[in-house]
Symmetry: C2
DNA sequence: CTGAAAGCGCTTACAG
DNA sequence: CTGAAAGCGCTTACAG
């Protein structure tokens, strides 16, 4: 059973293909009776529009590419969910690829756009190599590239992110408010904008509060569980141990706590620990993790909406370039007075 | 700067569009010198093939839809990574949607295929409603629908899965081998094939070993952390507590352990606990979780390869219908002798 | 080995 | 309000 085409519908309804097309995409310009006849014919034939044909004709792919650094990172799932909802509502499909992947295979990112495979892309990886970023920025399609969560410092792409500085300051103040004065930080990757931003904000806030900050209290990590474990070993080896640790990600905090526990240190009894992101698991961790919550679903939805606006009405000058979404403090059991 | 077309390349190379097309897709049939001229022209014009046009002409979308029950479940990430790799290597894109989504929006799954939006789909959700399954099975495109991880009992779709029964038996024997004779099970969702299969295998294996199984030792769960917490409360309330618990998923095991810990029960001192799946976090959990490892990346790769084989050579009778991938026991610290 | 020509299934000025 | 016709950018028998 072959799928039927506009032609088939037109034949059955006894109208032209133009009329069928109009009835489907812009019914108000068609007379009531014709509309009804076409509707019947569509039902009778089981007609489904052919996306490839429409895409070719309209010069639009009706899909958006989402680029992740790593598909296996659970941090992104809620963001994808948010993106997916908004896109689906507008009849757009969501394509997924990993930046790692694209890099390995030598494929150029911009090809997705030049290719007519996607109308725009949402990049969740601020760590693209410089030459890749330059190529994207120079492309005629650059307006259709949007960064979410992470971003690229020197480029002018539209972006969505959370309050990284504010979140960090809230975290430090939570620990300070509990009575901690020796506060350490496990950073994200040093070459990552989020890692950098949160670290800078951390250093500034400690200075603002007039707190001491020994160099060894800044431990370099990379957002992973493994890095948290290593940092725990550093902490254990310190002569003057901080009583609280602010981690640049929840995974880092979990790794840190896990390793401490193996060495019989208790959280928060021996040290208060908090994370950033408030991923799903934070609540179920032992102990449940105090964290800075980002609304990841909303980040995804906002990113998708901003991008679609640019696709639908290109060259509009009054489109938003950057949106910063609020974070909030979620207090659980991994932090306590010293 | 408009992207150039085959026409442009043909003009520059002084050949017909047919020749350019052939040079690109099947170079061996073109003479050496022509090939060189075309290659130069492609470089000069910066030509990129237009996927929409090729898709329309070849009646193929060059993309595959992956359907998840829930984008936010970290269990799926490695599977997606595996699928994505294989697809990218063959020039296919990966579309993602959630079954929940599709259901809510009233969209029919089969539309993706009828639509020319995708050439096939990989379904990671065995819990589709009966009428949806029937619609899929009846479709002319049914051969291009493949289930992975989960499957539908009464339908004849090709599928990829892990050794669920064997894995369960290995788990029970690991606990039995440690000396446990009172072994409980927290099940997956009762209406889920994996939950059912693992539960049945559990019951059978206990019978084979001649072990007692009190009805209350089968606790109904649903793969989530929350269900694990609830089961922990059941366990705590029991008069005759099992000394070991086999959980149908790692998340279940983590929730179980987390709740026990809140009530000052230690794992494995008071009870041995093991999971199924060996998700990334199992290794970092406190205590590190003994589990049955599924190679999720390989499940994804295998699924993608099987599906592509069906897309490329339809109607082949000798294509594999089902593949069962091996599991293995990973012993960590959540299990010990009673 | 190469080219002329048809056609994939739509949409959209244009004319009436 | 409706239809005839062109055309989006490719691929592929067919003929030479």
């Amino acid at each position: 059973m072959k799928t039927s085409t506009l032609q088939d519908v037109a034949r059955v309804a006894n109208v032209s293909t133009a009329t069928v097309s109009r009835t489907l995409s812009n019914p108000v310009v068609v007379s009531e009776s014709t509309r009804r006849r076409v509707a019947d014919a569509v039902k009778a034939t089981g007609y489904r529009i052919n996306h490839a044909a429409r895409n070719l004709r309209t010069q639009r792919a009706h899909s958006v590419l989402v680029l992740l650094p790593d598909l296996a990172n659970p941090f992104f799932s809620a963001i994808l969910e948010g993106i997916s909802r908004v896109l689906a509502r507008q009849g757009y499909s969501m394509l997924i690829a990993s930046t790692q992947h694209v890099h390995d295979s030598g494929e150029r990112l911009i090809d997705y756009l030049d290719d007519a495979r996607a109308d725009g892309m949402i990049v969740l990886d601020g760590g693209l190599e410089t030459d890749v970023v330059e190529m994207l920025a120079a492309a005629s399609q650059a307006e259709r590239i949007l960064f979410a969560c992470e971003w690229v410092e020197d480029a002018n792409f539209p972006s969505v992110r959370c309050q990284n500085r504010t979140g960090t300051r809230i975290a430090v103040n939570h620990l300070y408010g509990l009575g901690h004065t020796k506060i350490a930080h496990i950073t994200g990757p040093i070459d990552n904008v989020l890692g950098q931003t949160r670290k800078e904000a951390f250093v500034e806030e400690l200075a603002d509060l007039g707190l001491e900050l020994k160099p060894e209290w800044i431990m370099t990590g990379d957002f992973t569980l493994a890095a948290g474990c290593l940092a725990a070993q550093e902490w254990i080896a310190m002569n003057d141990r901080p009583t609280a640790v602010f981690c640049a990600s929840d995974q880092l905090a979990m790794g840190f706590i896990a390793e401490l526990s193996r060495h019989d240190f208790k959280v928060p009894d021996h040290v208060s620990v908090m994370g950033f992101d408030d991923i799903d698991l934070a609540e179920q961790f032992i102990p449940p993790l105090t964290s800075i919550r980002q609304d990841r679903m909303m980040i995804g939805e906002t990113a998708a909406k901003m991008l679609l606006a640019r696709i639908v009405t290109p060259n509009e000058e009054n489109l938003e370039r950057a949106t910063v979404l609020p974070v909030s403090l979620v207090i659980r059991e991994s932090t306590s007075p010293p």
